[in-house]
Subunit: 204 residues, 4 copies
DNA sequence: AATGAATGAGGCTTCATTCAT
DNA sequence: CATGAATGAAGCCTCATTCAT
């Protein structure tokens, strides 16, 4: 016991990878609270790092946004794929939409849906996600779980609505979006569907 | 004597009221394109005026927003009241929501739903509108045109969704929102309604 | 009585001269309250006139200041001359200083004492005033009413001090300056004078 | 992605503390020349720094003023305290006034005497200084070195006068204020004092 | 690799001044 | 002659980004 030499510090991962995570986490929180207007200073302060460190990890604030959004899209895509061979395609679609909204970072995803100038990688991931969703929708349509005047684009467009709707309420309960997803999904069901006054758009 | 300034180039005189309209129009467009972050400089440039002129018409950027939003709320309230004694309360509510979305300035209205710090007058107008909508909803509920687990707050929150949904699509047809209003309204109907997984929120 | 024709209006001096006076009066008040930072808009508002009218009467804000200051200097000069042949030169000087401070627009006069770039006319008037004061001082010196190490320049420099001193006090009584003129003038008297640690400056 | 900005030219790194001093020095000079109206741009230009750097050191222009004024008040207070137990209270007061004026930053102190809205700390320091001066005055009064109709408030008000008086002279010798302090202090002595025409004000 | 000081463009707002009506 | 709308320079301040240490 006496001759033990513990010189090396306990390996506190203060390395680059850790700081990157700190920054991403801080950024998601700040963006969540203040919207995209959150400043780099806010983010680094929350992360407990210096501004210079921020730019070592992300060349640009926009790059950070991309870095936040990319994994979200990938997670959504996995969630969608996980439902592709479910036995009840209607329930599978609803489950996917629930998981998706539950990420509560759809907010960030919607940045992208608009973004005219998204980086190539993001565009590609997004297109892949949309394709997966389209498969989910097709299966639900085929099974009769969805009204037949609905398209995948409709579902994609409506996907973020529950989250956005809830954002109008200053102090909403965190799970309130479930209510509006329920209502909107009921609107997608075949029972009691009224003819729609306008044709479906072409996909983005 | 100290405050002498350099000579200034001419100034063109035009109709004050007209410039105010120019500014309001330019502002609605810029806000539509860039969100509330659109700068006063952008707005005046689009209006073809000098920055100083902006502040002659609106003491503050916030004042401009108020000036844009107030009449929209008033128009919405009128549209709602016009449906208060319709014979078919369900159709009346749908008609109101259609007129409201048709204004396509709901986007601006939604600024307000969030705005914790709206000017007193705006808050008052908004509360009046919400009250009118509540009456519309009550009548629709009483007539059985709405599923009975829906509240006025639900309708208010969902009111702007069709417009927002469509905004994700870069080059959407101008009337595409009608489609999504149709879908969402179908979700509010009693036929085929599934129990909602979360209770209604309390009004703002 | 029946054939009288009173067509002409009752000659309400709404002519240029009257507006000029309105502007000068408003300016003195605003400058008094807000200092030289008072804006042209403030002044014209107080005068009940339009900004354009201001610039019809004064090409420049600086011109207005000159227009305010000139008559003050002239009045001071008259006041000084009125004391030139008084029988008691010491009392005469004190009387002049009292009248001068009493104008309470010394504040404005002091603008000038600094002003490197005063218009020619103002410089001339000022020099004339200084010359008159010098005569007053010479007579007081000759009569033994002033300590003999004092010069006219000293008196000129000290002339505005009582007003300035009082300006530090936010809610000073309007006549408080009399107290400090008394103290300072006592410092100029021969009785109890201590040798001064620094020689008199040369006149501006 | 929207917030991309153009590339910025290099940035020179230097000692933070040093730049703060540069800014303080530049500010004192600019304020001395142009009064409190000196702009942040003027100050940073004089300091050879960028505008942004200013706000890194002082959150606000007002903060800069506070930063300038605070140490001056503290130095004055020390100077006053150093005289509290002098054997000749009259000479002690004169010595304090001399040291105070010698700082030649009284000018800045006078900002404060007016400032209705000074930060709490400044108000506190100022009150402490005034209290110390009051002790000095009381002792001088008790020793018979001051005329007995004088109060501490009088001395405080007159304290800055020598500096201000000299400011009227464009190219005054730097020590000319000593002359006017001499004159004014003679006015405070008991010998040859004439009754004052106005009562002492209450302290601020 | 991390830090944080420095940078300067750009945002909102004020104000002297010009000029069409 | 008066009016008041328009102008744009300038003021204060914020923030993404760069770079010496």
């Amino acid at each position: 016991m006496s001759s033990a030499r513990k010189k090396r510090p306990p390996a506190v991962r203060s390395d680059g990878a850790r700081n990157r995570e700190l920054l991403l986490a801080a950024a998601e929180q700040e963006f969540g609270e203040q919207g995209i207007a959150a400043s780099v200073a806010d983010i680094t302060r929350r992360a407990g790092l210096a501004k210079g460190t921020f730019f070592r990890h992300f060349a640009t604030k926009d790059d950070l946004i991309t870095a936040i959004v990319e994994p979200h899209i990938e997670v959504l895509d996995s969630a969608a794929r996980a439902q592709l061979d479910a036995v009840e395609p209607g329930a599978a679609l609803l489950e996917f939409l629930t998981v998706a909204a539950g990420q509560r970072q759809q907010r960030d995803v919607s940045f992208l849906l608009r973004a005219g100038s998204a980086p190539a990688r993001v565009t590609m991931l997004r297109d892949r996600l949309f394709d997966t969703i389209a498969q989910l929708v097709d299966r639900a349509l085929a099974s009769g779980a969805l009204r037949n005047d609905i398209t995948a684009t409709d579902v994609i467009l409506l996907m973020c609505a529950p989250i956005h709707v809830v954002e109008y309420l200053p102090n909403a309960q965190p799970d309130l979006w479930r209510r509006y997803l329920g209502i909107i999904f009921d609107g997608l069901r075949p029972e009691g569907a009224h003819p729609l006054p306008y044709p479906a758009p072409t996909p983005p």
